[in-house]
Symmetry: none
């Protein structure tokens, strides 16, 4: 078996083990046994247990990035955002144990910013930010937003929904419903109609009133409810 095949087998086995037992119980010895090789070989190809785990996470993330291509720019904004959030939730639902590893272990690593996973995470985050920027350029999204915060909110919502799923709180966890909810809330907020609109209307009403008074010498009030 070639070196690359060997590595592929180890990575696949390791991913299975993480999926089955959780990353806290992941043992290099088991990877070797399940791969039909010796422990020494695992350490030949991966400097340490940690490196192996990081590579597993990296591969998984890479797959995700490839499977979830950038949303087509000619789609409506809402659809683009939905697609990005939906892919993310879907991927998490498929590999909850790996998700936990990335969220809990890698992200807490002081060295996180030098890890490939960090860059991957940035790539994905960028695809979200790109959608936002596009929305801004099209005039559909407010310009005055803190981009970082928008990104945090989107991912925050995704992750928080994920935790509930990982803890088994939401047995009926539906990727579609959750993704739709997050998308709408991000775009529309939770308020009912906007006060600014009213103000503008009031201003218009004022103008109309003035016109009317010029015409008839009579001051019109706002339309009765």
């Amino acid at each position: 078996m070639s070196k690359d095949d060997r590595i592929a087998v180890i990575l696949r086995t390791a991913r299975e083990l993480i999926r089955e037992k959780g990353f806290e119980n992941f043992l290099p010895l088991e990877v070797a046994q399940k791969s039909g090789i010796s422990e020494g070989m695992v350490y030949k190809y991966f400097k340490s247990k940690r490196e192996l785990m990081e590579r597993v996470a990296e591969d998984w993330f890479e797959e995700f990035l490839n499977e979830a291509p950038l949303p087509a720019q000619d789609l409506p904004l809402r659809d683009q955002l939905f697609q990005v959030i939906w892919s993310s939730l879907m991927s998490i639902k498929r590999e909850p144990a790996l998700t936990r590893f990335v969220l809990m272990e890698l992200r807490a690593d002081p060295n996180y910013r030098n890890l490939p996973t960090y860059r991957q995470s940035r790539r994905f985050a960028k695809s979200v930010v790109d959608v936002i920027e596009q929305g801004i350029q099209r005039g559909l999204i407010r310009e005055d937003l803190n981009r970082k915060l928008v990104r945090d909110m989107i991912f925050g919502a995704i992750e928080h929904a994920t935790w509930a799923f990982l803890r088994g709180e939401d047995e009926e966890f539906s990727v579609d419903v959750t993704a739709r909810g997050i998308t709408d809330m991000i775009l529309d907020g939770i308020s009912t109609q906007k006060p600014l609109t009213t103000e503008m209307i009031e201003r218009l009403e004022h103008m109309v009133s003035q016109l009317a008074s010029e015409l008839h010498g009579v001051r019109m009030g706002p339309p009765a409810d």
Copy 2:
């Protein structure tokens, strides 16, 4: 030293150690030494290392809940929400290591729902949900919202912002700015103005058209559909 004082000392020391070294490196022996007592004493008052850590988290959460009283119901909705988010971020900024412990260890515990921390977390979540409900009743927030999702989004945003801070990504992390940003985004969403307003504007346009036609004998208006 009285039993209660002893317990207090242990808890304080333990909290310091978690703060300094992170919960992964927390050793009961060190707690004892730093408290000037024997390891056995720690185990006299706390059945296990885990229980001690949970108590530290619990006390911290309790302090937070006491320090962050329910927002006054007569405040504007936006201020109430801001206050809740601000307290949360503030508390996290003060004890990042404990936050990590709660978010990563406790929340991932299969038994999480039976822990005091879970109930505390619910209490806090409830205070947020209460604000939302009140907004709905006042007609300021849409009725058709998935409450759980709103809650997830708010906490998700808070936590995600927290992670960036914990990782030292945002050195200039400002509780005020972040809380303000989250609050506004939750309430208003990120979109520009709302199409529904159009109806009202159409009515106005109609009024203006009539006025204008009276003035000039010409019908202005939007193009007929």
Copy 3:
């Protein structure tokens, strides 16, 4: 509460705890708590945990010796032996945990021969040996027996039956049946009745019959019962 009362309470509590949890899990702290006194008091009256446990065993043994008086010497031998064995099994059945303590811990102690329990054990063993001796004197038991071995066999049988009971193997463990079985086997052995004896008698009977017939012309049968 007087000193003696105190001691009595401690001993009673200790016995209950040994009964409930087994002697391996016996904790002085629990004795104190259950007795409503402090741990220090336990150590005031008993030099060590071991001494306390030995005293519990001693008291129990003493009770047994008092409750199981010497078998009346005018009873048939078999009844005396049965009584002794029966009392022993009965006492064991009542306090299995204490029995285990004596059999496993005390008896294995290098210092066992200096313990009160040893002397008590000897007292009880003597009562058995006395029955045997009496049997010998009455001509009912062979003289050439190794007394020590007889004693070992009797107690061995009792203890082995006990172990099965302690392990829960014989749920239907009946003191009566077991005591009866042991008694009979000890007295009679397991061999069938000696064929030679009967044969000889028959031969003699045959000879006598012939003599009689020669004398009287009449055939005598065996004597009517």
Copy 4:
């Protein structure tokens, strides 16, 4: 050193340590040191201290069972029984500490019946029971015996004799004498010749005397020895 050799060394060392210090003071660390290996190696081949000790007991028992082959069926019953009892006592005399471990620790284990030692113990017990059954079939042993009780008595006698030896009470402990004594007592019981027989003979003597006196006018006494 091969895996099997290593295991053998560990088992041998462990057995020595148990022999020297008793099973209560048995430390895995010491096994490793005395075997010239690290503690980790002990745990590589044996999941736990307990498992190691059980394996030591198991091997010892297996050796015993191999060294003490089934008694030849054509031997007299008494010789077969003697042989079985003798082997048992001999093995115990060689490894008193292991005997204590089996009798006290293993046999008290709630899981005892699932241990290999239990099955070994059954195998040996069966060889005894087989001898008994054979005796019954040959008409040499009473049919109406409670087999379980016979077995208990034999082993009880063996074990009780063992205990005395283990405690050093019988310094002159002789396997031959003890085995002989137990065998005889089991087979013959402790009673003198059966009184009924004597009685019958006396009656016969009486009849014979009468006949004789009728014949010769002379009173006959009991037959001279």
